[in-house]
Structure formats: C-alpha cells, structure tokens
Symmetry: C2
Subunit: 321 residues, 2 copies
C-alpha cells in the first residue's frame, strides 16, 4: 500500500518498538536518514533503534551516536530508509525480508516490498523525505538536523549533481538554521582525500588513453596500482568520477582489474551515445548515461574490447543518419 | 554614506544611464552580479551596461549576453559589484576612480570608496545581496537568475565552503525555481577540469614532500612542469586547494616557480599554526589560516626555507606551553 509523507508520519505516530534498516554498502543518505528518524521517534517518546550495518565504513563513525540496536532487541515495527528492494538488505537483515512495515525511499526503481511504501522519486535524497516526515511532528532539532544534512549533501555531491532541486536547497537551509556544524560535514565528505586516493587518481590520469580526438578517455586501475599504494576499497569509491570530469571528454571509461584475468568496466556517456548499448555488447547493462560490464582478460584486453564496443555503437548511430 | 539593500534598490530606481563595473581578474561573483543587475535595471526601463573586463577568461563567455557597454557609452551613474576597493578596478576603469555612485559588495575589507556604499559582509556571495536588491523591484526571472546562480555557486565552491549560510541556500532555491539550467553551470564550473590541469595536479601529488608525520605537505609547480604540459595561468587557478584536501595534513604549502630563481608560496594552516607568522619570517603576510610569501631561489631552496619557517613558528608555540 502506498502512503504519502503525511500518512507515513501518522503511521509512525501510531506504532512503537522501531527497528530501522539501512541498505548494504551504506552511504550517507541511508545512514543519515536512519539515524535522524531514530532520534525523532525517540523524541516522540518511542523506543527506536537502527540495525547495525556490517558494511559501514569508518567514514560514518561520527554519526551513529547511541542509536544502534542491541543484539537482543525484538522490534514491533521494522522501517527501512533509502532501500529500493529487499535484495539490497545488508547480510544481517535477512530475517526481516517480508517483514518491513514501512519503506521510506526515493528510488524510482523501488519494488514496493513493504506493507506500506512511501516513495518520493522526485527527491534527490531520501533525507528530504525524512525531513518532511519529521517536520509533521515538530521542527527539526540539531540532533536530527546533522544526520539529515549528511544525507542530503552526500546524495547530491554537496548540491552539485543534476538531481539537486530547489527543495534540496530549502531543506538544507532549514537544517543549517538549527546551528549544526555543516562546515565539518562538508570538509569530511567533500574536501578531504587520502594520500592513497590522490596517488591512485594521479596514476589513472598519467596512464589514461585518449581516443577520438580526446572525446573518449579510457583509464584503468590495475591490481599492481592497488598494491603499489596499499589501496583498499575505500580508496577507489566513486573513482569513475575522475575521468568523467575531463574537459572535452564525451565518453569516459574506468576499468578496474578485480583479479588476474577479470576486469570491471564503468562507462559514462553524454547524449551522443547510449552507454547501456555499449555495455550490452560485452554482456553488461545499465542506463543510457551510465552503464557497466565485465571483461575476462587483462586491462589491455579490456581497453581493446570496450574501445571496439564504443566504435561499433557509434558507427551504428552514424549509419542511421 | 552607508545604505542598506532597500535603500540601494530605491537609489537605483531614481537614477538612470548605468555603467556597472566588475573587479580585475573577474570571477563568477563579480560577473554574475553585474550581468544580473544590468538585466534587472533594463527590466525597470533603465539604460544599463556592464563595462567590458579585459581580464575576463573564456570560462565566463556564456554569461555576458548583450550587456557589454559600447566604447562610446557615457554613463550618468556608475555602480560597482563585488569590488572591495578602487585598487581592484580593472585597467580600463581608471577613469571611474572617485566617480562610483553606488558600491554593492560583501567584502569585510571594503574601503567605502563610493558615494553610497551598500556592503553586507555576512553574505557568502555578493550575488545574495544583488538578489535582495532586485527582488525589491520584482521576482527574479530566468535571465537574471542564471547569472545570480553563477555568482552564488562560484563564491561558495558550489555550497561547500564554510562561508555558505542558510541564506545562500534559500537564494539558490529561489533562483533555481525560475527554471534555469543550473546543472549546466555546475558541470561547467565544478565538474570539469582540463587535461592539462589534471596532469599538473598529478605531477604535484607525485612530487609532494610530506613532513612531521604527514601533517605538513609541500607541493610545487616548477617552470618545467608548466612547460611539460603547455600550462597557462588558467590551468593553475586555485591549485593550492589540491594539497589542502589531503587527509591528515594540517599545514599545506604550494610553491610556484614564477621565473628562474623566484618562487611564490601559498601556506594554508589549521588552528594549530598561524600561517601569517610563518610567512612573515620570509617577508610575506596574510591571514592566520591562509598566507603567502616569495622566496628568491629555486624550488628546492623555497621548500627548505618554508620548512624552516614552519618549524621555527611551531617551536615558538611549544616553548610557550
């Protein structure tokens, strides 16, 4: 059953014994939403906890506070924030499949897996929806505003991505007015890079191949690169953005060698080329502007394969003209 | 004489024949403010132009439209936007020194050089002030909202710098609601880097020296680096930010070799160290968090000199404890 945010706020008012779920490989939006909602429910006088997320990185350590559920907590009402489908549950939430009472989300692809689903797909961040729910009860305080600011800022790259809307900025303004240290959040999430990350980016830039008069860029991170800098998964998060920012590049490919003889490819394109068609030629898929695929082979073989795929789709486009 | 934004709006209503000045080495704030104010004054029925700025780079080409003053334009009322003092006038505005009727600005250091001065130092961008002035007359339209969005976003690094306030976000939301293509502005100014710039950044990272257990980073761009990548001044703009983002670094130094035997140094520090004291030892100055100086010598000599200066000030701090 579908609810709007007012109905969701009313439903939460009527229940108690809350456990809030976040998605696997959690980001600032799912964590910020869960923490903020938990604190607001407690302010309503409810018992509320967030299920610990085994995938959470140290980047989000400052935000959890005292919301994490003890191992023996038995919830009456399970709520999910920023989770599009049950396949995205973290490993320790298997037992809650089919048992979510209320799903609060902003993904257009949401499967409607809960008993009640409140999905606002026009919101850049799920945090905007949680803000609307909470302000049905009372104005946000600092304790809820900080994790909501984390949610809204991280899902928009600090208001730079094209998903950002006037509503995103209005919510940010209201959150900031509570007196939170938003500058610290911005510094931590948008103005800080590890030395390892910076060296990996440098290696990518220096070894990048440019084709088609500079309109196609193919960069790679090999297992050797990872070893050279003692890099971990944290250091390569969202690293495809590095090639995507290159001026004049219309097609940006980032290759990661996952193990010897296997590479994962991320392809980002402008309007001129359908990335999902390019990746489909190599058994992958995705969206028109961003897609992915795997290639069994070396980095050099992956580069060659994706370049051929790009040119095949480009030539198909031309033959139609 | 000091005016608030309502009085400034009233003054502008009473005058005509406007020429609007921008500051030398113009940025998005001064250009966006001048273009927006010019369009709004024309909407009021006034004759208004912006003085062409000889330092303006191609980055801002999309924003000028039809506002540039013809060479023979004789203004009745000269207005300046985002200019803190007459020393910041561009070279072709010398004749207007002592003749500015209204100065609209947000710099705390504003010298009050105009007949009427409207300075709001709590605003992150002068664009926020111009928005307040224009909305005294009518709601902003798309034509004024786009340059104002440029102003507000560029002066805050797209809402990430610590100068950003709730008001900044409120103004951004109102501007975006007019239907402007803010995503294109964000892409152009915050998500695009030239290949040359990326290669310069990579070279800096790879040749950077770390001291004091990684808390001090000293990076340099030599004349050879500039030549290797055919780099221009545009490619090194704000390049000191590269070192400043390094995780764990408290003192970030960026050295630029300006000519053989002469280096310019930029020093950024946290609360633990006064950058202006460090730079004063080498004949420079600035603020506690960001200062600069010059060293007559090679890049290696400049590195050695600034490291000694940092350690001298650090040891003075310790001896006081």
């Amino acid at each position: 059953m579908t609810l709007d945010f007012r109905q969701a706020a009313q439903l939460l008012r009527e229940r108690d014994g809350f456990l809030i779920l976040t998605h696997h490989r959690p980001d600032g939006d799912t964590i910020g939403c869960a923490v903020a909602l938990c604190r607001a429910l407690r302010r309503l006088g409810k018992t509320a906890y967030v299920l610990p997320n085994p995938d959470a990185t140290a980047l989000f350590d400052p935000y959890w506070g005292d919301v994490l559920a003890p191992a023996d907590f038995q919830p009456d009402t399970v709520v999910s924030t920023d989770i599009a489908s049950e396949s995205l549950f973290p490993s320790n939430a298997e037992a809650y499949k089919g048992k979510v009472e209320l799903c609060l989300d902003h993904h257009p692809s949401n499967t409607g897996f809960a008993r009640y689903n409140c999905v606002e797909a026009d919101k850049a961040a799920c945090g905007e929806l949680i803000y609307q729910v909470i302000t049905q009860w009372f104005p946000v305080d600092r304790e809820t505003a900080l994790p909501l600011y984390l949610a809204v800022s991280t899902d928009t790259g600090c208001f730079v991505y094209s998903n950002t809307t006037p509503h995103t900025h209005q919510v940010a303004a209201a959150l900031m007015e509570t007196g939170i240290d938003y500058a610290a959040v911005n510094k931590r999430h948008f103005r800080t890079k590890s030395y390892t990350r910076l060296r990996l980016e440098s290696r990518m830039i220096e070894t990048m191949d440019l084709h088609h008069s500079g309109q196609t860029a193919i960069a790679a991170i090999s297992l050797q690169d990872m070893a050279d800098f003692n890099a971990t998964e944290r250091d390569v998060e969202d690293i495809a953005a590095v090639v995507g920012q290159l001026e004049g590049v219309l097609t940006a490919v980032t290759i990661r060698e996952l193990k010897p003889g296997e590479c994962k490819l991320s392809v980002r394109t402008g309007d001129h080329l359908d990335a999902s068609k390019v990746c489909a030629l190599l058994g992958g898929g995705g969206h028109a502007a961003a897609a992915g695929c795997s290639v069994l082979g070396s980095v050099a073989q992956a580069k060659s394969a994706i370049l051929t795929a790009i040119e095949t789709i480009q030539n198909q486009g031309k033959s139609k003209q």
